[in-house]
Every structure is written in structure tokens, then in C-alpha cells.
Symmetry: C2
Subunit: 290 residues, 2 copies
């Protein structure tokens, strides 16, 4: 089957950039978003507006979703006028939201009953990766479906990995966020120690950022915070969502992850303090660094 028509649900910062690349690659796009204004760039480019997720899914070869929270994913797929109620057997449905692997398995099972091909395909690489089509795409689902969707994925990302069966993409994304949580908090605590003990923070960065303590989080994300830049590359509140998914599902899988639990509680505290829209480097504020 040649893929020509794509329904794209969720045109936020990530989704709008990704949908734009699909249009550039020649796919015909229909789009839906809760806030229509965020789809305007795509509509101006020729995308067709739809008034509901169900309407956007109808008649497409592939339906792609990248929405907010797992509850949004569940509603959009399994709700009364949702995707699965509106697509025929043979359709591909691809959730690129960072969501729960357990929910991804549930959607896969419901889709399979109708002959619909469901795949979970969360991404890493952030808004920069979305803009430059250099995202990593972590895919869970059937190998044949992964193969069939290659042209779609290739338009949006670079490192496209089939992690395993349904849910495996979401599991890999959770691993990614869990490793980030530890590295981010470790870097913040290092600078909290530096500041409390009276060290020069910049000198400390120069001394420790090249060796065994180095991490992308320290050398890029936290680095920005130390220079007073708290603009979001990735918002704390979205990180909180991801860590909550990791915490809940790790409990279901029988893994106790105390550092993850600790960092989630810190992020939640910063959300309560109205810092959720800042970048993850604002975790420095939890530790008293300005």
C-alpha cells in the first residue's frame, strides 16, 4: 500500500513542525488540534482542517497523534467519536505522544480486533529535532507495520529504531527520561553544593564538565540555567508528565526507582511554584540557584 493521505492530530510546537515535514515530503495532510490557531501555518500551506479527531481520522491511510497526556491519548483513540471508531481495517494509527506503554498495549489490542495497525512511536530530540527533522523515533509494534511506515518516519526523523512489540517505543522513551532525571538532578545538586560551599560556580563548571561527571544535561541544559537562561527547550511540566509515566509504569513492572521518584517530587514542587512553563534547567531553582 502506498501512503498518501495522513490525518495529523495535535499541532503543538512538536506536531506542527513534524506535520510540516510530512507535507514537504509530499503527503496530503488533514489536521485537527484543540486550539485551531496553532494549525494555521499548516492550513496556509494547504492542509485540510477537520473539526474533530474522528473526522480527521476518517478516510486516511495513516493517522498520527501527538497530543498532551495519556488521558488525551486514551480519549482520542478509544473515545466515542475517537480514531478507532472512525477508521476501517488496514489503517495505520501512530501515537507519537510520550505516553504510557501500558496504554499503548491497550490501544494496540483494541486496534488489532478491528484489523487496524497500531504503533507507538514517541520521539526524542525536542523542538530542535522536530524543526530539523532529526528526531529519534522509538517504535513499538509489529515489524511489518514498522517497515510500512518507514517513508512517514523518514520525513520526520533520523534515528528510527524498532524497539519491540506494542508499548516498546514508550518503554524506551521512559528509559530515556529516567536517565535524564538522574543526570539533571546530579548536575543541579553539584552546583547547589558549589554555591552553598562558596565555590565559584563558573570555575566549578570548567573543572568538572569534561570528565567522569560530564553529561548532556550538565553540559547543555543545566549550563543554560547557570547563565541565567530558563527559557524552555523542554518544559518542566512536560518532564513531570513523563516522569509520572515512568513512576507509575515502573511500579506496575515491579521496578523500584527511588531517584526517579525523588526527581519527580522535585519537579512537581516546581510546578506548584509556577515554574512548570520554564525549561527543565529550572530544577536549579529547587536547589536554590538563581
Amino acid at each position: 500500500m502506498e501512503i498518501r493521505n495522513i490525518g495529523f492530530i495535535g499541532t503543538g510546537i512538536m506536531g506542527a513542525a513534524m506535520a510540516g515535514h510530512l507535507m514537504d515530503a509530499g503527503f496530503r495532510l488533514s489536521v485537527y488540534n484543540r486550539t485551531k490557531s496553532k494549525a494555521e501555518g499548516l492550513l496556509a500551506k494547504g492542509a485540510v482542517w477537520c473539526d474533530s479527531p474522528g473526522a480527521c481520522a476518517k478516510g486516511q491511510d495513516v493517522v498520527i497523534t501527538i497530543v498532551g497526556y495519556p488521558k488525551d491519548v486514551e480519549e482520542v483513540y478509544l473515545g466515542k467519536d475517537g480514531i478507532l471508531a472512525n477508521v476501517p481495517a488496514g489503517t495505520y494509527v501512530v501515537d507519537m505522544t510520550t505516553s504510557s506503554p501500558i496504554l499503548a498495549e491497550k490501544i494496540f489490542a483494541a486496534a488489532k480486533e478491528k484489523g487496524v495497525h497500531a504503533v507507538d512511536a514517541p520521539v526524542t530530540g525536542g523542538d530542535v529535532g522536530a524543526k530539523n527533522a532529526t528526531l529519534s523515533i522509538l517504535v513499538g509494534g509489529e515489524a511489518e507495520d514498522f517497515a510500512a511506515l518507514q517513508p512517514v518516519f523518514a520525513a520526520m526523523g533520523k534515528n528510527i529504531v524498532h524497539m519491540g512489540s506494542a508499548g516498546a517505543g514508550q518503554k524506551a522513551k521512559a528509559c530515556n527520561q529516567i536517565a535524564i532525571a538522574g543526570a539533571l538532578a546530579g548536575a543541579c545538586e553539584a552546583y547547589a553544593y558549589a554555591k552553598a560551599s562558596g565555590l565559584d560556580v563558573e570555575k566549578t563548571y570548567q573543572a568538572i564538565s569534561a570528565g567522569a561527571a560530564s553529561s548532556f544535561q550538565m553540559n547543555n541544559v543545566v549550563r543554560r540555567g547557570l547563565s541565567g537562561d530558563f527559557a524552555p527547550g523542554f518544559m518542566l511540566k512536560h518532564f513531570g508528565k513523563d516522569l509520572a509515566i515512568g513512576t507509575e509504569t515502573s511500579a506496575a513492572y515491579g521496578a523500584a526507582l527511588p531517584v526517579l521518584a525523588q526527581v519527580l517530587s522535585e519537579v512537581r514542587q516546581m510546578e506548584r511554584l509556577q515554574e512548570g512553563d520554564k525549561g527543565t534547567q529550572a530544577l536549579l531553582h529547587y536547589y536554590g540557584l538563581e
Copy 2:
């Protein structure tokens, strides 16, 4: 003053390599170690054996120590037959042990009273750095003493940084270990999630190790553990010592570092389970990965 004679106390794996480089650079070395056999290579090379720290310190231009725990440092410097009881004004004393910044300040003050120049200069870069003379040396103390000791430091390391006044070298080393603690635990928890959720651990590594989750700890240390290699680059029990220093002194400085506290408790647990002599990647065992 030209530095010619160096007393070197502590010829373990790190110390023996560092002392060897000093001899290669032309300094005349006297050595002491609790276990004499560990100094044999240096003695064969022409170093002079001394029967006590005090005897090793006597008559030297510079005395270097790299021993075990803060209590050993305190004993060697401030004990009845210790270094400060045996050196005249004008001597340089350099503690390269990873030790407490508060103790470093105490030694500095006691030394200053006698006109002795005390410097704290812990290192990063591990046994490989010691062997190849590529250590980073983090120095706390007077700027003139830092300058006077350049030829000595240059024989042992590459990245030689004056962090600030007495104790500042130890503070920077603590920051380094604190950042490592978070990154190490984050990577271990990521793989614990991968395993518990049924992901292929190797595929997970390939998917997440190049992006925002990447760290030296994940890509080097934990990586070795995942391939079944738990030989020590840096022993868990030494890491436990360092994290205990960070925990105690951060409390004294008024910084609450919950991730550090958590990782220290995990390392202590692994020491109780007789894993202290393994490399830090054995923290994977805490999380049930073999």
C-alpha cells in the same frame, strides 16, 4: 625556592603511579606507605623508604599525601608524630586524597600557624589518569603556593585548576562526585526499567545513549557493567567514602541534596553485600541487573 626533595605518603594504585611520574621528572623521592610492599616498584627505581609519615616528611621541600579516609588524613597531618610536627616553616604540604574540605581548612589553619604552606589538591581521572599523567588536579589554597607547586603538579596531571582558598579543591571534587552519583543512578534506573519492562537492554542502550540522556557514566561506566564487566575502574567503596564526605559537608554548608543521600544509601547497601571492591558500575546490582 627550587623544589628538589619530595616526601610521598601513600603509594596505592594512584599514589604509586603519581610518585613514579615525579621521579621521572627528576624529583628525589622519599616514600612511606602502610603496606610497604606497595612501594617496592618505587624503591627499585631509587626512592628512599621511610618508616613513618613523620620521618617521610622531615627535611623535604614538599610533602605529598594520598591516603585513604579523612581520618587517615587527619592522623597523618595532625597526629603526634605527623607531618606538621615534623616540618619546618616554608615547607609545602599537599593533600591529594579525596577528603573533607572542612578538614582541609583545619589543616591549612594549623599549618599556617607554623608558617607551613598547606594545599588541598584532590584529583579526577582515576587510575588511567594517574598512569598516563593526565589527571585533573583541583587545587585549594593560596595563589602563590599554587604557583610555586606548578612543576610538581605538571608532572602528574594536565588540567590543573586553582579553585580558590583552602578547601576549595576538595569542594570541587565533591561537586564532581555528586554529579556522578546522579548520572550513574539515573543510568542504572533506566536499565532497571528496561529490564523489568521486558525491553532488549542492548537495543535500549543504542536508542538512548547518543541524545539528551547521554553521560560519561552511562556511555562508559554503566556500559561496562551491561557487558558483564564489573572490574573496578573506581571501587564502589571508595565512591561511598566520597559520597559520605559530600553528604556530611553539604549538611554543614546548609545544602539538602536528596539524590546524593539516596545514592549513598544504595552504595552502602552494596558494600554490606560485599560488592565494595567492584567498580561503581556494580550499582546495577542494586537494581537487579546482572
